[in-house]
Amino acid sequence: MTQATLVSDSLVAIYSAMFVYALAFIFFTYDLAKRMSEAKALASAPALEVVQAKAGGKGGTTTTVLDRPGPPPPGFEVTASGKVKRSLAARLGMVFTVMAWVLHVGGTVFRGVAAGRVPWANMFEFTLTATAIIIGVFLITQFWQDLQFLGAYVTGFVLVFLGVATTNFYVDVVPLPPALQSYWLVIHVFVASLGTGFYGLGAALSIVQLLQARRESRGLPSVRAIPNAERLEALAYRLIVVGFVFWTFTLIAGSIWAEHAWGRYWGWDTKEVWTFIVWVIFAGYIHARATRGWRGSRSAILAIVGFSAVLFNFTIVNLYFHGLHSYSGL
């Protein structure tokens, strides 16, 4: 195959992946909407026994305990072990996500083959790879923990970024400039996208955690198959900590590379500054999780701020800030 056909095959695969992600997104959203309305219906159902329990004496918080007798509402089957089975919509969403991901990874690999190098040397390629990693982490965590309630967020997010990448970041395959010709490109950038993937999912869990915490504090019934805020916080923490390890590695590897390529390991280049800021915010997040009074919603907000800084670093800093890291190819 020639380079040109590989490049166009890669794009076809990416566009197809986007189409299938869109389908997945629709099913996930439908599923979420249904669960939300189910929760609403439950809240107003008169048959429901609502037990108000006063915890503590004077000034104690009121906890609402919901007891739901009878069969589960439509759309939910219960397995023998009593777990709620995924709805058809959620399962379809999952199937489409897997299909889209295969296309997505295929398209990314084709791009790399066409260029004769790793597919993360400019913003377009980096977006392909990083979004593929986000979905990959999302899919792999399913073996360990049911995160399908994040399906809509994840597929939506990836769809938006693939859209922006193909329309605004697209560049033709060009050879690497001398400064990028280093095995550190392979290591540093790949680990950075791994870190981005874990942070992204962690922040997503933190968003859901905040929403759940609000529902819980208002005494609204929880939405089916979405864990409580505390559980979400624990999950977010586990993902973010992995992201933090990758990010730390990225920072160190980046410094080593900077020493080779630019003659100094740290120079407060804009990109370096923002990578440092992200690192410090997440170090703050880890501390917050260990500080009395900062667990719960406050640390969740830090996680979201941290991931926003990641996105800022990737988009605004790449496109509008001057610095040595002008590898966007745009």
């Binding site: 060009v174 933090f244 917050a288």
Partner: protein
């Protein structure tokens, strides 16, 4: 699960209930979420009391968190405004574009954010807090490493992961064997074990978690100190060397140098580098990138005093390590070799003049100054086009369309007047201040500018003599660095990383196995306690319970 570990007044994991003694606690700041809630008292504070109070505050988790977030926040302005260290030209342009606002920023030190007083103050406070945090924790950890696991709590059934076996008939020997096998099992699973009263085993593992965490924080201090000390000894020099010429590593030979406080020029080792060849490679196959640079290689002959001369290669990502310095290939360009003769034909000037590249096709700008030898001082601003585009294709204004020397042209504007070279003040070789000079030839004067191709000679205006473009050579821009603490910084960075992984992923947990006797029967109880995040604790306890009960041939009670 973390949900079991939320601090709340009646949480079963509170240390008092769990038999954890203060001596074995890794001492955390008092507002660590794992620490017992202090009683609120209002002691009267003396001077020492205030100091202690202040120190407590400074080394608390909340202050560390606050300072961390403040560092992140304070780092932002330096990314929005160009910095003197990384982008000096950007600063000049910025100041020109926003004169008023720049004054404010300048007085706040924003153009030097990362060495400004306020930024330094924040990170120094953070590191004082950090050190104040590390020292007591290290001492307590060292003590904890020498302390056997704590007593088994009286009641295990309120602890995480609690499990029990069904009762079985048992005599004393049976129980002794059961506790013994518990000890063996825990020991082989990496626990430190202590047998108590012959009927229970108390075990702890994961001391490495705290060790890793401490190494992480200590290595952060190590990085800061290395960078601080290194900053005093570091120096960085720049030198432009045309192909065929040499550079000797002594202070006077540098084009520019910046050094730390303790730099001494005597420490420069006078090695010599001769650039014998420079080979740029431009893309020729891929039409999307036609003419883009894809490789630069500088070939040098290196002679260190007292050693054999060697041939070396310097590339963009592979610096040359020589004589305590690193030599980087950071830029390159073209240097027209011009020869100026007076009207009598005597050569008054001949040398390569490095021109600064203006674009990817190496359109380059440079300055030639002839202070002596001609009837008047002249200064020339030149443009060099390696591959001049034909007027038919590109229009009247000359442009370069390729970085290779395919159709090279040099154009010059000629000025006369006092070039300021005799005043003794340092003058930038790459710029010519034309304010007080008179234009002799070029755009804006009646005489057109000069233009020549390699080998051509043209007349200078006013009958001053002639100028020849003798040759065109490439030059390399070398950055030469010396940083004695670089390896230290790397070592500490690696320790940071290793400490981080250890401190985050090794679970620190306690596990108890207890034989509970009633009359002639016994059952075993199992429970654990997490120290720090440990989502897998219940699984771990269950695993141990399963193995132990299998060893004893007992069944677990559902």
């Amino acid at each position: 699960m973390a949900s079991d570990r939320r601090p709340s007044k009646n949480s079963p994991t509170r240390s008092a209930d769990a038999g954890t003694s203060a001596e074995t606690d890794p001492r955390r700041p008092s507002d660590h979420f794992d620490s017992p809630v202090p009683e609120v008292t209002n002691p009267r504070l003396g001077f020492v009391g205030y100091l202690r109070f202040f120190w407590r505050q400074l080394t608390s988790m909340r202050t560390a968190l606050f300072l961390l977030l403040l560092v992140a926040f304070a780092a932002v302005p330096g990314s929005l405004v160009p910095q003197t260290t990384s982008d000096p030209n950007g600063v000049i342009q910025y100041k020109a574009a926003n004169p008023g606002w720049s004054k404010v920023l300048d007085s706040l030190g924003v153009f030097n954010t990362y060495s400004s007083v306020w930024f330094s103050a924040i990170y120094i406070l953070l590191f004082i807090s950090l050190i104040g945090c590390i020292i007591p924790r290290t001492m307590h950890h060292v003590a904890a490493l020498r302390t056997p696991p704590p007593k088994t709590p009286a009641r295990l059934d309120r602890l995480p992961g609690f499990l029990r076996t069904a009762s079985a008939e048992a005599d004393d020997d049976h129980v002794a064997a059961g506790v013994n096998s518990a000890r063996e099992l825990l020991r082989s699973s990496g626990y430190r074990v202590r047998v108590l009263d012959g009927d229970s085993a108390s075990a702890e593992r994961g001391y490495l978690r705290e060790t890793g965490n401490l190494i992480f924080h200590i290595a952060l201090v190590g990085i800061l100190i290395s960078v601080g000390i290194g900053g005093g000894f570091i120096w960085t020099g720049q030198k432009v060397v045309p192909v065929g010429q040499s550079f000797v590593n002594t202070l006077s030979n540098y084009d520019s140098i910046s050094q730390g406080r303790w730099f001494s020029p005597d420490s420069l080792e006078p090695y010599k580098l001769t650039v014998t060849k420079f080979t740029p490679v431009y893309e020729r196959k891929n039409l999307n990138a036609y003419g883009e640079a894809i490789d630069y290689t500088a070939y040098v002959r290196a002679s260190v005093p007292g050693q054999k001369t060697t041939n070396e290669i310097i590339k963009v990502n592979s610096p040359l390590r020589i004589g305590d310095t690193d030599v980087y290939l950071l830029s390159n360009g073209v240097a027209p070799v011009v020869t100026v003769r007076n009207p009598a034909g005597k050569v008054v000037y001949t040398q390569p003049v490095p021109f600064l590249p203006q674009d990817a096709d190496l359109t380059s700008e440079g300055v030639i100054k002839i202070p002596d030898g001609l009837a008047k001082q002249i200064g020339m601003i030149g443009f060099f086009y390696p591959t001049e585009c034909s007027k038919a294709t590109c229009g009247a204004a000359p442009t370069s369309v390729d970085p290779s020397l395919t159709n090279p042209v040099l154009t010059l504007q000629v000025y006369t007047g006092d070039l300021g070279l005799n005043s003794g003040k340092p003058v930038n070789a790459y710029s010519l201040n034309t304010d007080k000079l008179k234009l002799l030839a070029g755009f804006g004067s009646k005489t057109p500018g000069l233009s020549m191709r390699p080998g051509q000679t043209v007349k200078l205006p006013d009958g001053l003599g002639t100028i020849e473009l003798t040759n065109v050579v490439r030059y390399v821009g070398l950055d030469i660095h010396h940083d004695p603490t670089q390896l230290w910084v790397l070592t500490f960075a690696v320790l940071v990383f290793l400490g981080l992984i250890t401190g985050l992923f090794i679970p620190r947990r306690r596990v108890w196995i207890k034989a509970v006797r009633r009359g002639g029967t016994v059952h075993y109880e199992y429970a654990g306690l997490a120290r720090g995040e440990d989502p897998r604790l219940p699984d771990a306890v269950a695993e141990i319970a399963k193995k132990h009960s299998q060893l004893l041939g007992l069944t677990m009670k559902p």
